[in-house]
Amino acid sequence: MHRLSAAIHGWLLLLPAMALLVLFTHWPAVATFIDSFYSTPRPRRPARFIGLDNYQTIMGDPVFWQSLWNNLLFALGTIPVSIALAILMALWVNDRIAGRTLVRMAYFTPTILPMIAVANIWLFFYTPQYGLLEQIAGALGLASHNWLGSPDTALLAVTIVAIWKEAGFFMIFYLAALQGISPSLAEAAALEGASRWTFFRRVQFPLLMPTTLFVLINAVINAFRTVDHIIVMTRGGPDNATMLLLYYIYQVGFQFWDTTYAASLTTVLLVLLALAAFAQYGFLERRIHYR
C-alpha cells in the first residue's frame, strides 16, 4: 500500500513536466521520422506515403552535401580551437596575473551576449571598404578583401565568430576544474623536478579530461544547432559557402515550405547528433581518469 502511494505521488509530481516533454520533444522527434516518409501536402494534393523518396532526394541533393560538409568543417574549425583557447585562458586566469578579474570578464563577456547582436557587430567588423578589418589591412598595405562576400573565406569568417563566442564559456568549466586539482600534486611534481609543461601534460591535462568530455559534447551540439550568425551575416551564401545543416532545414521548411523534405533533413541531423554522442561516450569514456 505504501509503495502504491509512493508511485502515485511520484507520477503526479512528474506529470506536468512529462506531458510537455512528450508534446514538444518526444512526439515531434517521432513525427519528424514518420513525416519523412510522406510527400508534402499541397492544395488539392494531400500528403501520400512515398517511402524512401525523400531520402533518395537527399542523396542526390548537392546543397545537402555541401551543408553537411560545411557543418563538419565548421565543427572541426570551431571545436579544437575554442577548447585550446579555453584551456589557455583558464590557465592564465588561474595563475595570479595582474588584473585577472578584468581579464576573465573580457573573455567571458561574449558568452552572455545574444549571438544575433554580436553577429551584427562582426558583420560591421568584416564590412568591405570601411569595416575595421579592412582598415587594419589597408594600414598594413594589404589588398582589400570581402571576407563574407567571397566563398573562400566566408566559412572561416563565421567560424571565427563562433570561436570568439564560445571560448570564454568553456573557459569557465576548465577554471572550475583547475581549482579542484589538489595543490599537493603540484608540490609533488615540483619535487620530482617536472617542468611546467610536463606538469600540464602529465598531471593537469589528464585530470581535465572529464571536463573536456563535457565541453566536447556541448561544442558538438552547438556546432549543429547555432545558425543565428548565419541568418544575420550570410544567409547561407555566397553560393552556399556557409550553408549549415540547420539553416538548410530552416530554409527548406520555412522559405520553400517543403515540410516533409525538411522533416527528412531533420531526421538526418538527429541521427548525426545521436552518433556524435555515442562516439564521444564510447571513445573518451575509456581514456578518462575520474578522480
Binding site: 511520484g10 507520477w11 520533444t25 595570479r96 561574449p110 545574444p114 544575433i116 541568418i231
Partner: protein
C-alpha cells in the same frame, strides 16, 4: 603547512609572470575589440563611425534615432514577459519532477529519467518544423507562450535540481514528515531553501539563454505584439533604412544593455552560476 594559502611551485614569477600577463591582456583586448568598436560607433556621429579621432564629439543621437525607428519598448516588454514566463514555469515544473526523481522510488522512474535526459540531445532548437505544426494545430502561432512552451520542461533544470535534492540528508525529510508535513510542504520547507544557490544559478543561465534565443522566436512570431528583442533587432537591422552602422550598433547595444549591465554588476555570481550549472 598551517597557512591556508599554499605556495604554488608552478606560479609564474619575474619575467615569465610579466610575459604571461602581457599575453593574457593582449588576448583580452582582442576579445573586447568588437564590442569596443560597437561602443565607438554607437556613441559618435555617423561621420566618425569608421574614422578614429581622439576628440570626436560624443552623442546619444544614434540611440534616439534607433529607439524612434522601431517599437523597441514593445520588444523589451515582450522579452521581459517571455523570460519571466519561461523561468517561472521552468522552476515549478522542474522542481516537482526533480523531487520525484530524487526521493520517490516508483516503477518506471528509470525509464522516465532516460526519457527526460533524451532532451539534452534532441533539443527544441532542432525540432522547429514539427513544433511549428503543433503550434499551428493548437492555434498558438504568434503568441509569447508559444515561444516559451517547448523550453518549459527543461531536462537540464530537472537534472540539475535532482542532483541537488539528492544531497539533502534523508533525516531532514523524515523529521519533517514525522511532524506531519505533507510531501509538498516538505519540498517547499526543506528542499527548496537548501537548493537556493542552484536556483539562482539556473535562473541566470535560463534568463540569458531565453533573452538571447533567436531561431525559434523568429519562426513562431510574425507581429510586433509577440516578437522578442532579438527578432525585433534582426527585423530592424535587415530592414530598408540602408546600412547605417551607427544606428545598428546603437540598437544592438541597447537591446543587450540590461544583460550586459547585469553581468558587469554581478560578474562573480554570473561566472559562478555558469560554473555550478555546468559541473553537476
Amino acid at each position: 603547512m598551517s597557512t591556508p594559502e599554499r605556495h604554488d611551485p608552478y606560479a609564474p614569477s619575474g619575467a615569465s609572470r610579466a610575459l604571461e600577463s602581457a599575453a593574457a591582456w593582449l588576448l583580452a583586448i582582442l576579445w573586447v575589440l568588437p564590442l569596443a568598436y560597437a561602443l565607438w560607433a554607437a556613441f559618435h556621429p555617423a561621420e566618425f563611425t569608421t574614422r578614429f579621432a581622439l576628440f570626436a564629439p560624443l552623442t546619444l543621437e544614434n540611440f534616439e534615432r534607433a529607439w524612434a525607428a522601431a517599437p523597441f519598448a514593445r520588444y523589451f516588454l515582450n522579452t521581459f514577459v517571455l523570460v519571466t514566463l519561461t523561468l517561472g514555469c521552468q522552476l515549478v515544473l522542474c522542481t516537482l519532477a526533480a523531487y520525484a526523481f530524487a526521493r520517490y522510488d516508483f516503477a518506471g522512474s528509470n525509464v522516465a529519467f532516460a526519457l527526460v535526459l533524451a532532451q539534452l540531445m534532441i533539443m527544441p532548437d532542432v525540432l522547429i518544423v514539427e513544433n511549428y505544426r503543433t503550434m499551428g494545430r493548437i492555434g498558438m502561432i504568434d503568441t509569447i507562450p508559444a515561444i516559451a512552451l517547448p523550453y518549459v520542461a527543461s531536462a537540464f533544470g530537472i537534472f540539475l535540481l535532482r542532483q541537488t535534492f539528492k544531497t539533502v540528508p534523508q533525516e531532514l525529510d523524515d523529521a519533517a514528515r514525522v511532524e506531519g508535513a505533507s510531501p509538498l510542504q516538505v519540498l517547499l520547507k526543506v528542499y527548496v531553501p537548501l537548493a537556493r544557490p542552484i536556483y539562482v544559478a539556473y535562473g541566470l543561465v535560463s534568463v540569458s539563454y531565453h533573452w538571447n534565443n533567436f531561431l525559434w522566436p523568429l519562426i513562431v512570431t510574425n507581429s510586433v505584439e509577440a516578437r522578442p528583442l532579438t527578432v525585433g533587432l534582426q527585423v530592424f537591422s535587415s530592414g530598408d533604412q540602408g546600412i547605417d552602422w551607427a544606428i545598428i550598433c546603437a540598437a544592438t547595444l541597447m537591446t543587450t544593455a540590461p544583460l550586459l549591465v547585469g553581468f558587469l554588476l554581478f560578474q562573480r555570481q554570473f561566472v559562478q552560476s555558469f560554473m555550478r550549472a555546468g559541473i553537476r
